[in-house]
């Protein structure tokens, strides 16, 4: 079975290293592309790089060869020192010496291994950077599953859409209704919080009538915060609405409840001065809005 020349002999005996390296390479590639978990992707990446290191190291192997340091009997400096030590010039002592080709055969080529030292360093740097990125992703999204991250990113983009309505509703122009339908989303994140809170009650009334998708996105994410704030300052519906965010939020991750809570407390400070514009109808709309939302979720 293991005679020379058969495929089994070639694969498993002579070239076992290369066989293993290809398998490792494919495992790593599969892990990087197909896995959903970011850490698993990184494990795949490590396997992938290790496979290449195995390949290079296998290339450098030489049967019966030793490490590329002069054996005592080959050492030109040693032989120089033994006879005629005064005649040994500076160059002969310090400069590199080229051995005869017959002697070189006894040594392994160090270059592939040395290259891999560099490659390992690069791999470590990449892995460290990728792990740091994982950490940041986890801090930002609370998960390291790729599909959940994508879903959260999508939800955030959806949430940005009503915020454009905030802007256009805020402007005093008569043509606002026109631009509302057309305008998706200039970013709003940089606008100061006072301006946002001023505009929000109006926007709420708009979204209640128009954007149904935005509701679901708002319910989960951090935007429940304005509701308690509004209803606290008004007289009606104070009992109800603070309770609502809890019920909706309890279904989502525990983190978002803790996040959503402290914010309403901070908000009202800005409210009394800025919220002069909000009409009573808008308030009613916001107060009544949580009701239809709960059965959905």
């Amino acid at each position: 079975m293991f005679e020379d020349g058969t495929i089994i002999n070639e694969l498993f005996i002579e070239r076992l290293n290369y066989f293993i390296y290809v398998i490792l390479l494919l495992i790593g590639l599969h892990g990087m592309i197909a896995k959903n978990n970011l850490i698993k992707k990184l494990i795949g990446m490590s396997i992938f790089q290790t496979a290449i290191i195995l390949f290079y190291v296998s290339v450098g192997v030489k049967e019966g060869a030793t490490i590329p340091i002069y054996l005592p009997e080959h050492d030109p400096h040693g032989s120089h020192a033994s006879h005629g030590d005064e005649n040994g010039t500076e160059e002969a002592v310090h400069g590199p010496v080229v051995l005869e080709s017959g002697l070189v055969k006894g040594y392994a080529n160090p270059l592939p291994h040395v290259l891999m030292l560099t490659a390992i360093v690069v791999g470590v740097a990449t892995l460290g950077l990728a792990l740091a990125l994982c950490l940041r992703i986890y801090q930002g999204y609370g998960t390291i599953e790729e599909d959940e991250i994508l879903a959260k990113i999508e939800r955030q983009e959806m949430r940005l859409k009503p915020s454009i309505i905030v802007k256009s509703a805020d402007s005093p122009k008569p043509k606002t209704s026109n631009s509302e339908n057309s305008a998706p989303k200039p970013k709003v994140s940089s606008s100061p919080s006072t301006k946002r809170s001023k505009a929000r009650p109006k926007a709420k009334a708009k979204t209640a009538s128009t954007a149904t998708k935005a509701k679901t996105s708002q319910a989960k994410s951090s935007s429940p915060k304005p509701k308690p704030a509004v209803s606290k300052s008004t007289t009606t519906g104070t009992k109800k609405s603070p309770a609502k965010p809890k019920t909706t939020a309890s279904k989502t991750a525990g983190k978002s409840t803790t996040k959503a809570k402290p914010k309403p407390r901070a908000k009202p400070k800005a409210k009394p001065t800025t919220r002069t514009k909000a009409t009573s109808t808008a308030k009613k709309a916001t107060a009544s809005k949580p009701k239809p939302r709960t059965p959905k979720k």
Binding site: M32, I52, T126, A130, L133, G140, S179, S191
Partner: protein
């Protein structure tokens, strides 16, 4: 000092980055002048090297680090930097873009990444070191290390952006690592067969031993090729690029977008022409038959996807993917004029992409958005910015006085002469898409037309905006001047195109490229 100019190109940014990291801890404000000065010094080294290259007889400057000179030791011992005309031209592009972006970076870096200026400029200068090193190195493994230096710093620079940037960077890390690792694997195969890592040495061995039919070299070629294609965001592998560049900080995207993909194109040209050699790359592989069609698919898909975008930065990112298709196609139609066009397009595309991204950064700063709907009436608000932006845009389309026209001219000539009609047609198609893209933008910016086509103004010339909204309000000078400088470069490179093409012709004259139908 003069004879070491090629080393100074790298020494300035490398030690500048170290200085930023150390001195920046004490005083953050010192980083910006260090960055600008080291870029200027580096550019001086580049220009000096170009002078030497042109002056030398073989049009090549070879510099071997560590005193392993060629007269005492065989080639391949010691790391060699060799600058031929192609290498030094691309290096100059890298350094020029780096200098302009470093001047531009003052305010955006302060505002977008507050308290991280030392880190930012450290990475910035290391990025330049990596990119310039890629263009100059004459060693295949050294190239891998420098690719990774550029990539790792690029990951860091991108991840400093918005919250989404981390997720986008992660994808970039995964794909970038696959690309670089495949390249490394390919270099391993080359090393097995040729026993050297020096690019000139590899080529000599291939020619001397007739390795064109060797299956090991074929595997090496495929691995290196695919690795580079992934790194340059060629169409099926482009997934990492748009998200990474859109979510990156302004300065990062204006530095990386013009350079990273173009430098990888340079690596491909270097591998195809200098390392594997014309005969090997074009005659004994199937890439000549396959690649032009992949390019056709790539350009069409990227152009259509660019058309679907509603946000300037994202649209520009897809434009880059389409432009990568142009340049790859210019190489693989296997024609003298195609290669001139490809190399010239690397230069001009870097200039115009820089122009567009600098403009987009200014728009983002002043209009607070780069979405198409936030652009109404911007021309009356910031006329200089929009002029600079549109010079870049016209260059992408290929209007005559700009450099984009001339590079596209050579590309189309190449397609025609080599009778690659599919490539020519797709270039025309893509040009038309670019026209639509940019004139749609012009319409948004000059006229008051909404998404659904309604006119929001009260008749002709009325933008439907108040006086307040259209008042003259340009961006800060430290950002505006680099943009106008970049726009000037686009025009100057266009006007003096013949000089650059002459240089490229000198470089290409040593290769045996067909001027007619090659395949």
């Amino acid at each position: 000092m003069m004879e070491n100019a090629i080393a100074w190109i790298l020494i300035f940014p490398l030690f500048g980055s170290v200085a930023c990291a150390i001195l920046g801890m004490g005083n953050k404000k010192i980083c910006y002048p260090i960055a600008v000065l080291s870029m200027a010094g580096s550019l001086w080294g580049g220009i000096e090297t170009l002078r030497q290259v042109i002056a030398s007889e073989v049009h090549r400057v070879s510099y071997i680090f560590g005193g392993w000179t060629l007269d005492k030791y065989p080639r391949g011992v010691g790391i060699e930097f060799h600058a031929d005309i192609l290498g030094i031209l691309i290096t100059l592009v890298v350094l020029g873009v780096g200098l302009i972006v470093s001047i531009y970076s003052k305010l955006p870096v302060q505002d977008e990444t507050p308290n991280k200026e030392p880190l930012f400029y450290t990475l910035f200068l290391l990025q330049i070191t990596g990119l310039a090193g890629i263009c100059l190195t004459g060693d295949a493994f050294n190239l891998y290390v420098l690719i990774e230096v550029a990539a790792l710093t690029g990951y860091g620079l991108i991840a400093m952006g918005s919250k989404r940037a981390a997720a986008a960077t992660f994808n970039y890390v995964i794909l970038g690592t696959i690309g670089a690792s495949l390249y490394l694997l390919g270099v391993g195969y080359i090393y097995i067969k040729t026993g050297t890592l020096n690019m000139v040495g590899i080529h000599d061995v291939i020619v001397a031993n007739g390795l064109a039919d060797s299956s090991t070299m074929q595997v090496a070629f495929v691995l290196v090729g695919i690795g580079i294609l992934i790194k340059m965001a060629f169409f099926p592998f482009h997934a990492w690029l748009p998200n990474a560049y859109c979510n990156a900080p302004t300065v990062t995207s204006s530095l990386l977008a013009p350079l990273v993909t173009k430098v990888m194109i340079y690596v491909m040209i270097r591998m195809v022409l200098s390392v594997f050699g014309v005969e090997f790359s074009f005659e004994s592989t199937l890439w000549v038959d396959v690649m032009p069609w992949l390019v056709v698919v790539a350009i069409i898909c990227a152009a259509v996807m660019a058309l679907a975008q509603r946000e300037i930065k994202r649209m520009l990112a897809y434009l880059i993917v389409a432009e990568v298709g142009y340049m790859v196609g210019g190489v693989w139609i296997y024609n003298y004029y195609g290669l001139i066009g490809s190399i010239f397009h690397v230069i001009s595309d870097a200039c115009m992409t820089l122009c567009l991204f600098l403009g987009a950064g200014l728009i983002l700063r002043k209009a607070k958005t780069t979405h198409f709907d936030g652009l109404r009436g911007l021309f009356s608000k910031m006329p200089l910015t929009m002029t600079g932006f549109f010079i870049g845009g016209f260059s992408i389309i290929g209007l005559p006085p700009t450099c984009g026209f001339f590079s596209k001219w050579y590309l189309i000539t190449g397609g025609m002469v080599s009778q690659r009609w599919e490539y020519m047609v797709v270039l025309m198609f893509s040009t038309m898409v670019m026209v639509v893209l940019f004139f749609r933008l012009i319409e948004r910016i000059h006229l008051a037309v909404s998404e659904s086509g309604e006119n929001l103004g009260h008749g002709h010339g009325d933008l439907g905006l108040t006086k307040e909204q259209t008042r003259f309000d340009e961006g800060p000078l430290s950002m505006l001047i680099p943009l106008l400088l970049a726009a000037t470069v686009v025009l100057v490179v266009g006007i003096y195109n013949q000089d650059i093409v002459n240089l490229i012709e000198i470089f290409l004259s040593e290769f045996n490229l067909p001027k007619g139908v090659g395949h």
